[in-house]
């Protein structure tokens, strides 16, 4: 689905992403893990078109899309969420979602002025879809609240809700679980799985919660210092000593040996 081929990005001397290559397979839920500063979010920004890489290629469905702007990638079915929620603070949750659907004729000013009946009919459909998504996410009680007033966890759900307002093919989720309570997190995982099996969404998920990764993801890609350290099933990754080194610093395996 997406091939990331030898992608690098430097920020004034810091190698955020350093020759990173892996593949996000169609129909799978790929986990992307790694210690803080491993370059996961930068890589997401590159794949989603927010940052242009210094070198390397991103291929979506056989077509090279390196450096294409986010709005164009959106229309090719690539949608992303943000680690830090990016809500429209002074707009309602409902309006936040209603912005998303593509092809709204009322987004053309002349249509908005001259074809109000058609625009209104479309608005009803968009509204219905937004209501469904809100119900799915159990946010009905805050549908008309300004998004800026939502809790951190609710904003994360809003981020996920956005991806459900369009017919996405591949969704990049940047820490969807952070700040979401346990009950809701279970529901979130369930909905990701349902979108995957029922609607055929391909996912790539950055997450620090290993339970979430273990429950959902296969394969799991581990990044450290801008590169892919290893990839494979969760069990394979868990057993890898390099991964422990990357997470816990030099000598972690040695200390573990000593502790035995």
């Amino acid at each position: 689905m997406i091939v990331i081929d030898n992608v690098s990005k430097h920020f004034s001397g810091i190698r955020a992403v350093d020759g990173c290559s892996f593949e996000i397979a169609r129909g799978r839920i790929t986990g992307l893990i790694g210690p803080n500063g491993a370059g996961k979010t930068t890589l997401f920004n590159i794949v989603a078109g927010f940052i242009r890489p210094d070198s390397g290629r991103v291929v979506l469905d056989g077509e090279e899309v390196t450096g294409q702007p986010p709005h164009r990638l959106f229309h090719k079915g690539l949608v992303r969420t943000f680690q830090i929620p990016q809500e429209f603070g002074r707009m309602t949750l409902l309006d936040n979602l209603m912005v998303v659907p593509p092809g709204q004729s009322g987004e053309n000013l002349l249509s908005a002025w001259l074809r109000p009946v058609r625009v209104k009919a479309e608005e009803r459909r968009v509204r219905e879809r937004a209501d469904e998504v809100i119900e799915f996410l159990q946010l009905g009680h805050v549908a008309r609240e300004l998004a800026g007033n939502l809790s951190g966890g609710q904003k994360k759900l809003l981020e996920l809700g956005r991806t459900m307002m369009t017919d996405a093919r591949v969704v990049l989720l940047d820490e969807p679980g952070a700040g979401v309570n346990r009950t809701l997190l279970g529901k979130l995982c369930e909905s990701i799985r349902r979108l995957n099996t029922e609607r055929g969404y391909t996912f790539c998920i950055i997450e620090h919660d290993m339970d979430v990764i273990a429950r959902l993801c296969d394969p799991v890609v581990v990044m450290a210092q801008g590169r892919v350290l290893t990839q494979g099933s969760m069990d394979h990754v868990r057993a890898n000593e390099e991964v422990l080194e990357a997470y816990f610093g030099g000598g972690a395996t040695a200390r573990r040996e000593e502790a035995r």
Binding site: G89, V99, G106, E107, A112, W113, D131
Partner: protein
């Protein structure tokens, strides 16, 4: 009594012209968050365009086309819109404060061109004899009010449409709009051009009302600052607020002129500076105690899902 009515008509006509300008700025700042402090530039382009298109033949400036009023107004909106396309082409990628610097510079360039390109504008001597669309002062007021209503309805419909929703989303968070598949630069340019075209329309109304224009009228104080205060006082993002703010600030501004004009001649100029100070103080008070303006952007009703 007659004098009072005459003044009332003058007062309301000017307020109506300012209302058109404020509505144009509301589209840019109130909806989209574009910090245009070059309102005077687009205001001037509109006024001069309509003046040149409709004024009788003159050796002093370009023009003598003597075309009818509606063509002048349409040409004014188109020219200001084109000016905005030219400006926007280079500046639409700039974020708020950089756009502010760019637009204030451009408005000053426009003012200096008007002042110095005699063949085009007759320089500081200005363009006289701009025809009026109707004979009476009252009729002119009617024409201006008609345009205010038209512009208000158009902008209000735009605000409630998906188009307006995208603009407000851009104001709130550009990244998320990009991630929602919208071409942010394109929408920003549209808002900038439509808002500026409306300012040009306001300029045309001004030219036909005063029948004489010179570069002085498009000084940043009258052409930009007052309009900003009107919008902020009334409530950015709210079109009714823009109208109310225009009226309130125009009452303060012209009311204080009546007071200061009664002073002895030697104090009048100094008092003029005090009027600006007064407007500045009002702005400060509003920003401190009512930063969202008299009529804040409409808040959603807090209610159950599915209603409304």
């Amino acid at each position: 009594m007659e004098g009072l009515i005459g003044y009332g008509v003058f007062f309301l006509t000017m307020a109506g012209i300012y209302a058109v300008l404020t509505l144009g700025l509301n589209l840019q700042w109130g909806f989209t968050g574009q910090f245009n402090i070059g309102v005077a530039g687009f205001f001037a382009v509109g006024a001069y365009t309509s003046a040149i298109v409709t004024a009788p033949d003159s050796a002093a400036h370009l023009g003598g086309f003597g075309l009818p009023f509606p063509i002048g107004v349409a040409a004014a909106a188109v020219m200001s819109g084109l000016a905005a396309v030219a400006v926007g082409w280079g500046t639409m990628r700039l974020r708020t404060d950089y756009l502010a610097i760019a637009t204030i510079g451009i408005a000053e360039i426009i003012r200096h061109v008007l002042k110095n390109e005699d063949w085009l504008t007759n320089g500081v001597r200005g363009i006289p004899g701009i025809p009026r669309p109707v004979e009476t002062e009252l009729g002119l007021l009617g024409v201006v009010i008609g345009f205010v209503i038209l512009v208000y309805l158009l902008i209000e419909r735009a605000r409630k449409s998906p188009w307006g929703r995208v603009l407000r989303a851009i104001r709130e968070n550009e990244n998320a709009v990009m991630a929602s598949g919208k071409d942010v630069a394109d929408f920003r340019l549209q808002a900038f051009v439509v808002g500026s075209a409306i300012m040009g329309l306001g300029g045309a109304l001004y030219a036909h009302f005063t029948a004489f224009i010179s570069p002085e009228a498009f000084d940043p104080l009258y052409g930009t600052f007052l309009i900003w205060v009107m919008l902020i006082a009334g409530g950015s993002g709210n079109n009714k607020g823009a109208l109310l703010g225009t009226l309130v600030i125009w009452i303060v501004w012209s009311g204080s002129e009546i007071l200061t004009s009664r002073l002895p001649v030697e104090y009048v100029t100094q008092a003029g500076a005090l009027r600006v100070l007064l407007i500045g103080v009002i702005l400060q008070v509003i920003l401190l105690y009512r930063p969202e303006g008299l009529l804040p952007e409409e808040r959603p009703r807090l209610g159950r899902p599915g209603d409304g």
